[in-house]
């Protein structure tokens, strides 16, 4: 059979066919080609919260034999690609994902452009021609948002909480306060770093975080206001009105050396006392109808005031109010009662019942950046809030005079922006809760002092009307009704539920603040501020 004429014929045909088919493997006329330009694309986003970068376009040019253009992609740098054809060119638009969806970091991607050609004469299927690839890189930068406390005392090394985004997207190589590096820093999570600054000179210092592997500058809106420690003389300040006054709250704005008092003057007013040139200036005030409470925003750039039904941000220096934000779905006979801020740039707004009924009412959070006042799923019973100066924790204690049993103490954690129940239950009294700088000491009802884990550390006298902790938590200052003076207690170590030892003698005040007492302390721990129905009392802390 091998020698048959047919074999020879077949062999001849095959030989001729193969010889005619064997070309040089060249590109032919190039009509199957596909080319793409440019071959690299880079995207950058300033932070995970930023808008997605604008899409970029590459141009693909392909030969006349190409029947289909396959544009496929992979990698986290590319969310979508679109093609627009014009003749034998295609504009391929590459869209990166939103920064929030990928978080901070450097991401890669590839876009592959393949000209597919007909596989057979009837074009019943396609086969790939040439493929060209586009390399895509996408950098989503971390961002430094705020530092709490935002006020530091010159010449003193202390710890702060730095909040932002994308801290885990790159390797943190250091934290700087202006040009001064932190002496310690710990990355707690993607949005939180704990850092300790050395003794700094007075002035505003931008907080910067350095990241290995990041290209370009990191945006920072965190400013640490370093102020000289103040030694204020004991004195009293009068209110701009007389009569039956109720003090809702007072706070000291150390950045601007000003005392802010929330009162019921003229149906609700914020009174501001500025300290300048070694003297307290005459107060300025602004009316906020039905005012209930005030708090400074974490960055100190806004004064947040809550009235019965709304929240109003104000300029903390000029007291010029911003747009009023009404509380959504607030029930009748309920009112916004209390506000405290956390280091997630949010404030917790508790509500109460106007008739003093013991019942659970809504709890709101206010997003300072977006100006959104939102109802949470949690409800609390006429809660009063107190926040640590570093914004790590807000403590809320519940109940009214009509409450018959203890209620769970609730916390809001800045790191996670979540509410939780502490392991203790109490019914609140008229004495406002107090928390030290880092929430290591928590005083509830003016009597019981807990640690950050709500273990009972010790007690204060039952005659306490107001409490303030030294920022380091090692001293508690109380205004004592029996002594009509400020008492000092050593709270540096746990007494396992026993009374904390009183140290030093009672400190008489420059005047009687009156009823409904509120008390706070300056961030440098040097001065106590007490406000009651009669007047404001400025009192240097006892040197103990």
């Amino acid at each position: 059979m091998l020698h048959s004429p047919e074999v020879r014929c077949v062999a001849g045909v095959l030989l001729i066919s193969l010889l005619s088919a064997c070309g040089d493997g060249s590109d032919g006329d190039g009509s199957m080609d596909t080319s793409v330009s440019p071959r690299t694309v880079s995207f950058n986003a300033a932070s995970a919260d930023a808008a997605a970068p604008a899409a970029q376009t590459v141009t693909a040019t392909f030969g006349s034999d190409v029947a289909q253009l396959s544009v496929i992609h992979n990698g986290r740098a590319v969310a979508d690609v679109r093609s627009t054809l014009t003749g034998r060119t295609a504009q391929i638009t590459i869209q990166p994902p939103s920064p929030a969806s990928v978080g901070a970091g450097v991401f890669d991607g590839t876009v592959a452009v393949t000209g597919q050609v007909c596989a057979d004469a009837a074009c019943s299927s396609l086969i790939a021609g040439k493929t060209q690839t586009v390399s895509v890189t996408y950098q989503v930068s971390p961002a430094v948002g705020l530092v709490m406390p935002h006020v530091a005392t010159a010449g003193r090394s202390e710890a702060v909480v730095v909040r932002g985004s994308g801290f885990r997207g790159f390797t943190v190589s250091g934290v700087r306060f202006g040009t001064t590096p932190a002496i310690a820093s710990t990355v707690i999570g993607d949005t939180e770093i704990h850092a300790t600054y050395p003794a700094l000179a007075a002035g505003n210092q931008t907080v910067q975080v350095d990241f290995g592997g990041h290209q370009g500058a990191i945006a920072s809106t965190a400013t640490l206001a370093v102020v000289e420690p103040l030694t204020l003389a004991a004195t009293t300040l009068s209110y701009p009105a007389t009569g039956s006054l109720t003090i809702q709250d007072l706070l000291y704005d150390a950045e601007r050396s000003a005392l802010l008092v929330a009162t019921n003057i003229n149906g609700g007013s914020i009174v501001r006392y500025a300290y300048a040139d070694a003297a307290w200036n005459d107060p300025s005030s602004v009316a906020v109808s039905q005012l209930r409470d005030i708090a400074l925003s974490p960055s100190g750039t806004q004064l947040l005031a809550v009235s019965n039904t709304a929240l109003t941000p104000l300029d903390p220096a000029s007291l010029v109010p911003g747009a009023v934000i009404a509380a959504p779905s607030l029930a009748a006979n309920n009112f916004l009662k209390d506000i405290a801020v956390a280091n997630d740039d949010k404030a917790v707004v508790a509500t109460g019942t106007s008739n003093g009924e013991s019942s659970a009412t809504k709890l709101y959070t206010y997003d300072i950046r977006t100006k959104a006042l939102s109802q949470t799923s949690a409800t609390l019973n006429n809660a009063t809030a107190a926040a640590a100066a570093d914004g790590s924790k807000i403590v809320l204690i519940q109940g009214t005079a009509k409450t018959t049993s203890d209620l769970a103490v609730t916390t809001y954690t800045g790191s996670t922006s979540t509410f939780g129940s502490a392991i203790i239950s109490l019914k609140q009294t008229s004495v406002a809760p107090a928390v030290d700088r880092a929430a290591t000491r928590i005083a509830l009802n003016g009597v019981k002092v807990y640690g950050g884990d709500f273990a009972l550390l010790g007690t204060l006298p039952t005659t306490t009307l107001a409490v303030a902790f030294r920022p380091d938590g090692k001293r508690a200052y109380t205004y004592d009704s029996a002594a009509a003076a400020v008492l000092t207690f050593d709270t540096s170590t746990s007494k396992k539920g026993a009374a904390f030892p009183r140290i030093g003698s009672a400190t008489a005040l420059a005047g009687n603040p009156g009823a409904g007492l509120k008390m706070t302390i300056s961030p440098d721990g040097n001065t106590l501020f007490l406000a009651g129905s009669t007047q404001i009392v400025i009192q240097p802390t006892p040197p103990l």
Binding site: A112, Q116, C118
Partner: protein, 261 residues
Amino acid sequence: MRTRRPFPVALVIASALLWSAAASAQERAVRTTNFQLNVVTSDTDTKDSLSSGKLKIGAAATIPLGPYFGASVAGAYSDVNVRTRDVLGGSRNSCGFNGTEADVALFARRPSLGRVGVSYGLGRLSSDCGTGSVFVETGDANLRTDHYRIDAELYVRALTFALARTSTDLDGHQTLESTDWSTSWYPLDSLRITAFGSDLYDQDSYGLRLDHQPEFLGDVLGVHVGYSMTDVHPRIRTITVGFAYYFGAQTSLKARDREYR
């Protein structure tokens, strides 16, 4: 797109067939109505580009039209999975095509001499390669095709020489003209060895295919393997394996090719 002139060749063969058919009326173009089912898998690899796997399922029926003519109808569905990892690595978008096609053919045959025929077919291709992938002619993910083909086969003892000219319209925008040729040899009645080639896109592609229809399976099951490649850049290689099941006639592969389909 490109114009060639294979039609005179087909006309010559057609004339010869008709003349021969008139001379030997006892031979029939199609002995009896018969059917076949096909399953074909193929793997295509384009150098420095993508590779793909394809599965095609088809059916065909061939019927006699008097002593000299026959007709066939065929349909097929194909699914192509493009292996994007070839260029994208690990995780990637998927990419694939599916196609449907139908074809009708009319032919005249003299089993001892050859065959001439014409056919018309319709097809539809759809791609699923993401939002950025489009057919050039339509700007979207679908392409309709229709084609005309004229073909001729010459039977010389154990050899079959075939030539086909196809004109394919791509959704009314572009026309592909191509010529396919093949030479088949039957060393056994159950075995066919085919060398084939095409000038589609003005590039030479060629290949070899072996068909076998073993007698011990009752002459109803056929299997084939094939290999083809192009000789231009990027070089494209295709390996094909297929099975066919025949209904309506139990006969040898050579007789099936020349007297049944």
